[in-house]
């Protein structure tokens, strides 16, 4: 599982403060803590705290890549902000994200190609959130076709089925899990799959239990990557165990430690 750490996000008050004061050390500390807990990449999001994301996102990118060469997941709904982040990035990047809307795909696919960035495609469009599996698959196919026609390598495309909060869309959970399994079958080579895990427990509780239960089910459905809180040790332990049960790693009595030694 490719773990993308979610904690550098202006939504969190201490990150918002650090962003406001351009306190590099606080951001770097958050980056290194996530990596030491197993993050393979870091999501970087200015969030609502930023008055000028065109300046703040590149600043965050530069601060983080001073202390790590892990890939950075540039998180913004605005293509212009993403473009600024890409310009500043020396590390590998993942664009987070495009929707299935034509005007976004037309900008972000060439941009991802130009910067050799991976790309997250949300199966959502201006009409709204998909209500079932078939709508997700339809939007996934649209993104995939557009990427393919644009000469973007499909193995670098991460499709996100849009994970809804459990207390909002309980009826959709099975559709989401099935969508994860079926996205992989849309093309050969397969696109990858990603979810923003914490969405599922927004407004519900206990967060951590809901998150890790869904994650293990998603892993069993073939999920490749998740944006999550790597500092939640029980969550990461559950992930490691789920992958062990799926025979992705060889068992030994210290398998949790063994995974972290990787």
């Amino acid at each position: 599982m490719f773990i993308i750490g979610e904690l550098i996000n202006g939504m969190y008050p201490h990150i918002a403060l650090a962003l406001k004061a351009h306190d590099k050390a606080a951001i770097q500390k958050c980056a290194l803590e996530q990596i030491s807990c197993g993050a393979d990449a870091l999501d970087v999001c200015c969030g609502p705290a930023s008055k000028d994301p065109l300046i703040d996102l590149p600043w965050l990118v530069e601060a983080i890549q001073e202390v790590t060469n892990k890939p950075l997941c540039l998180d913004s709904g605005k293509p212009k902000v993403i473009a600024e982040g890409l310009k500043a990035a020396k590390n590998l990047t993942i664009i987070n994200s495009t929707t299935a809307d034509q005007e976004k795909l037309e900008i972000l696919i060439p941009l991802a190609k130009k910067y050799k960035s991976k790309l997250i495609g949300l199966t959502i469009n201006a009409k709204g959130i998909p209500q079932n599996k078939d709508q997700r698959l339809e939007l996934a196919a649209l993104i995939l076709t557009q990427a393919s026609e644009g000469g973007f390598p499909i193995v670098d495309l991460y499709l996100d089925p849009i994970l809804m909060p459990i207390n909002v869309a309980q009826g959709q959970m099975r559709d989401i899990l099935e969508a994860i399994a079926e996205f992989r079958m849309i093309s050969d080579p397969s696109p990858k799959t990603v979810i923003g895990l914490s969405n599922i427990s927004q407004g519900a509780r206990p967060h951590s239990l809901i998150n890790r239960t869904f994650l293990s089910m998603a892993v069993a459905s073939g999920l490749d990557s998740a944006i999550l809180n790597p500092k939640d040790k029980e969550l990461v332990d559950t992930l490691i165990t789920a992958e062990l049960i799926l025979n992705k790693n060889i068992y030994c009595d210290s398998y949790l430690e063994a995974y972290r030694k990787k």
């Binding site: 790693n249 060889i250 068992y251 030994c252 009595d253 210290s254 430690e257 063994a258 030694k261 990787k262």
Partner: protein, 311 residues
């Protein structure tokens, strides 16, 4: 139309273990032996890098051998009664690049030598021959914990490969190996889960994973070789996929297993063939170090390796 080869690209690589240290490295060996370092499965030269060939170590002991078949005794002759001269013969006559010394004479049933006597033998052997050494205990855990620290210390700085650590008895050996700058053999009973666990236990004591060689335990041809083969293959696949806790080279004690079989005992020629075939099969499952007994079998396998690696 020619069908293109499907080549796999692996993210992992097997660690490289160096045995022996030259004068400038703090030892006194004439040369060193490197094993491991592969980034692909055995012999798939087009798929990845295979920087080091499998190597043969001649098995000797600190006393006249106690479990050698008559054919093996005949092959070496009277020289086996003088272990230092036996070592000499392996190096000078049979061109051994590595010796595997078993401290058989320290076993309570075979002489019960003291740690001091054992250490003296190791020192004498290091002066007598200049090839790198693998040193293993007699297999009696309690006694090994007494004599192996002494043997390790006697060879301090020579970067030997020292064994065998097992899941229930590894701490003393790891401490010695750490203190004296050697590498270690981690032995597991044809069990990949234990092999992985033991590597973690050893590395938790501060010995780098890069200083471990796995003894997966093998069976001879006809006696469970395929079990060892599948364990080695599975460990290698995991290692190449990125599992560093299994990315160690393999050592296989071929001679002792092959000569135990009734087929090997049936006739001298058959014994040599049995040992050679057990070794060549294990090369194909990923063996990096082969500990062998019959000089002719070692010769056959050595030619086989040269032919395979000619490219």
């Amino acid at each position: 139309m020619e069908t293109p080869l499907v080549l796999e690209k692996w993210p992992g690589v097997i660690s490289t273990v160096t045995i022996g240290a030259k004068k400038e490295e703090g030892g006194s060996r004439g040369d060193t032996v490197k094993v491991g370092g592969q980034s692909t499965l055995p012999l798939l030269f087009k798929e990845g890098s295979i920087p080091h060939k499998p190597r043969i170590a001649f098995e000797i002991s600190d006393i006249a051998p106690v479990d050698f078949e008559p054919e093996l005794m005949t092959a070496y002759g009277q020289v086996v009664n003088d272990p230092l001269a036996w070592a000499d013969t392996c190096v000078n006559k049979y061109k051994a690049e590595l010796l595997c010394l078993k401290m058989q004479g320290t076993h309570p049933d075979f002489g019960n030598k003291s740690p001091e006597t054992a250490a003296k033998f190791v020192s004498a052997l290091l002066s007598r021959v200049k090839v790198p050494l693998i040193i293993i205990g007699s297999g009696d855990d309690v006694k090994d914990n007494l004599i192996m620290p002494a043997c390790s210390e006697a060879a301090k700085g020579e970067r030997c490969l020292i064994g065998c650590a097992v899941q229930d008895n590894y701490k003393t050996l790891v401490a010695s190996v750490l203190a004296d700058g050697h590498s270690i053999i981690a032995e597991s009973p044809i069990d990949i889960n234990i092999a992985k666990q033991l590597n973690i236990l050893i590395s938790d004591m501060g010995l780098n994973l890069e200083r471990i060689v796995i003894d997966p335990t093998i069976g001879a041809l006809g006696y469970g070789l395929e079990y060892a083969y599948s364990i080695m293959e599975r460990a290698r696949l995991a290692a190449l996929s990125g599992d560093k806790t299994l990315a160690s080279p393999f050592i296989c004690f071929v001679g002792q297993e092959a000569w135990r079989t009734k087929e090997a005992k049936a006739s001298p020629e058959q014994g040599i063939i049995w040992e050679a075939l057990t070794a060549t099969s294990l090369i194909q499952s990923g063996a990096d170090l082969l500990v062998m007994r019959h000089p002719q079998a070692a010769g056959i396998v050595s030619n086989y390796i040269e032919t395979l690696f000619k490219g």
